[in-house]
Amino acid sequence: MTEKKLTIALAGNANVGKSVIFNQLTGLHQHIGNWPGKTVEKAEGTLHFKGYTIDIIDLPGIYSLSTFSIEELVSREYIAVERPDLVINIVDASVLERNMFFTLQLMELGTPMIMALNQIDMAEKKGIRIDHEKLQKILGMPVVPTVAIKGTGVYELLERSVEIIEKGGINPPVIKYGEEVEERIREITKLIEKIPFRYPARWATIKLLEGDEQVEKEIREIGPKILLTAERLAKEIEEIHGHSCSTIITSERYEAAGRIARKVQQIVPKIRPPMSETLHTITTHKILGYPIMVLAVLAIFQSIFTFGNYTSELLSNLFYGWKPLFESLLGTGIVGKLIWGGIVEGIIASVTVALPYIAPFYFTLYLLEDSGYLSRIAFLMDTLMHKIGLHGKAFIPVMLGYGCNVPACLGCRIMETERERLLAAFVTTLIPCAARTVIILGLVGAFVGIQWALALYIIDLLVIFLLGRLAFKALPGEPTALIMEMHDYRVPHLKTVGKQTWFRLEEFIKISFPLIIVGSLLIKLMEILNLLEPIADILSPVTVTWLGLPAITGITLIFGVLRKELTLIMLATLLGTTDFALVLTPLQMIIFTLVAMLYIPCIATIAALVKEFGWKKALFITVFEIIFAIFVGGITLRLLPLFLG
C-alpha cells in the first residue's frame, strides 16, 4: 500500500517555539534549503503518522501577512497559492493578543488550520490562564495546549491535524470589521470573485483596502477597474474615520484579537515576579546592563577561543601526523605535493577552523538567541550601532564576525532592508575573525608586545567605525529604526539549538570548503611551477617600496586570501624561522599585521558576499578593502616612527 501524502505548514510569530515543535515533529528527517530565488530559509521535514507521509514546512516567524519583509511575502504566497493541507498556527500563550492578530490573518486567508497554544506553562507562571476550550469554540478550530520543549501536546497536535484534514477542513467564523468597512469589503469581494485570482477574494479585498502593493500590482493586470473602485472606497473609509484605511483595518483586527484574548484569558495576580522578569530587569538595566553585557560577551569569546585553540592544535597535529604515511604512499613528487599541499592541506585548514571555532560560536549564539539574551544585547547596543547607520540587531552579525566572517555575512539576513544587509555585511568583513586574531596575537602580540596587539584591535574598531559611517552616508536611503520584540527569557531547547548549529555549519562547509580546496590547489600549483617569486617581484613596488616589507611577504599576502592565518604560517615557512624578531623589525611586523587584518577577509567570505549580494557588490567591497589596507599600511609606515620619535 502506498502511503498517502500530506503537507502541513507551521506558521506563527517569531520566538513562539515554532522550531522546537518542528523538531519534535520531524526529528532527524529534516532538510534546510532556501525558498526558490529568495534568501529566505525553508525548513522541511517528514514524518509518518497513521498511514500518512506528512511533509512539514516550517514557515519563517512573522507578525503579519503584509509586504513588510520577504519572509511575510514568502509565507502568504505559500499558504495561499501552494495550499498546504493544513496550517498549524503556533501561538505564544503568554502574549495571546498579539499572536491572535496573526491568527486572524491566517483565518482570512481561508486556509484549513488548527492552533497550538504553546508555552502554556510560561503563561501560567506569568499569571495568565487560558480557557482553550472556549477559544476553540470562538475560533471554530481545534486549539491544542502544548509545551513544546517538553514535548507535551505534540502528539495530540498531530492527531487533531490529521483529523481535520480527513474531515475536510474547518469552518472558522468570519471576523467582521465595522459595518462601514464590511459594506465596502462586500462590494469589492463581489468584483474580485468574478475574475480568476490566485488569492481568496475576501482576503485580496482586505489587502487592497490596506494598500498592499503586491496585491494591487496583480489586480492591476487582470482587473484595473477593481483597483479604482477599491481606491475610491478606501478613501471613503478614510473620510469616515480620519485615519488611513490601512490603519483602520489593522486597528480593527487588533481590537478583534484583543476581544477574543480577553474573553478566554484570566489574569491571576502574581505573588512575586517570575525569575525571567527579574533577569530581564537586570540585564537591560540602564547602568548594570552594560557591564553585564561586556562581561558576558568577553567570557564567551574567551572560552570559545580557548576551546578553539586547543582543539584546533589537536586536530592539526593529528592530521599532520599522517603526512609521513601519505608521503610514503604517494611520494614527494609533483603529484604527491599537489595532493597533499593542495587538497589535503586545504581540507585540514577548513576542518581546523570550522570545527573548533565556528561550531561553538554558532552554538553559543543560538543558545543566547533562544534564551532571549541576544535581543537584550541588541537593545543595549542600538545607540552605538546607529552611529554607523544600523540598528541594534546588527550587533548580532558583528559578534558572529569575531568567529568567522562567512557566517557573519550570512547572518546579516536578520536586517530588514537590502541597504542594511549590505551595510552590515560590509562592516562585518572588517571584524577581526579568529584567523586574524591568530595573526595579531601570534606576530605583534608575541614579538612586539601585547599593548601593540591591543592597539591594533582599537585601530580596527576605529576603522570599522569610520568606514561604516562613510558607507552609511554614501548609501542612499534612510536608516531604519529598531522595532523588535523582547520575548521573556526562557530555557533554550538544546536539541533545537544543536540542529540549528549543525545546519549553519553545513551551510558554511558548502560555501567555503570547495573554495579553500581549489584555492589551495591553485597556489600549490603556482608554487611548484615557481611562479610565486616572479609574482612577489611584481608586487614589490607595493610590498617593498610602499609598505617597507620584505618582497617575500607579497606571497604570504596572496596565500592569506585563502584563509588569513596562512599569512603567518607561510611567513614562517618562507623566512625559514618562527622567530620573527630575527627577520622583521617591530615596525614591519605591525605594518604586516595591519595590512593582513584589513585587506579582504578571505575567499570564503567573498563567496558569501557574492551569494548574498551578487558579484558586483562583492567585487567592489573586495577591491576597496585591498586598496584601503595598502593605503593605511603605507601611511602608518610613514607616520608611526614620527610618533615614536
Binding site: S66, V95, T250, G289, L380, D382, E478
Partner: protein
Amino acid sequence: MERQRGIKKVELPLTALRDGESGIVTSVGEGPGRGYERGRGGWGFKKRLMDMGLTPGTRVTVIKSAPFRGPLEVSVRGSRLALGRGMAERIFVEITK
C-alpha cells in the same frame, strides 16, 4: 477608539514620557522615506508598528529608555517591544491629566 470626556488632554511624542508613564496612541507619523521607498522606509515601517500592535487607541507604557538617546522599552498589548528612538519619536500619545 476612545474619546476623551472633556478632560484636558496633552498630545506628546512617546519619547516625552517618563519611565513608567503610559498614554493612548493617537497617531503614528509616516516619517521620511515615503515616495522613493514606499513599502520600506516610511509606509512599511508605519505598517510594521501597526502590525506590532501600536494602533491608534492602544494604551502603551514606557517601561524604560536606554541611556544616550537609546531605544525605549515599551509594553503594548501584553507584549514587550524595543523601539528605536527615531521610531518612538513618530508615535504620538495622549495622556490624560
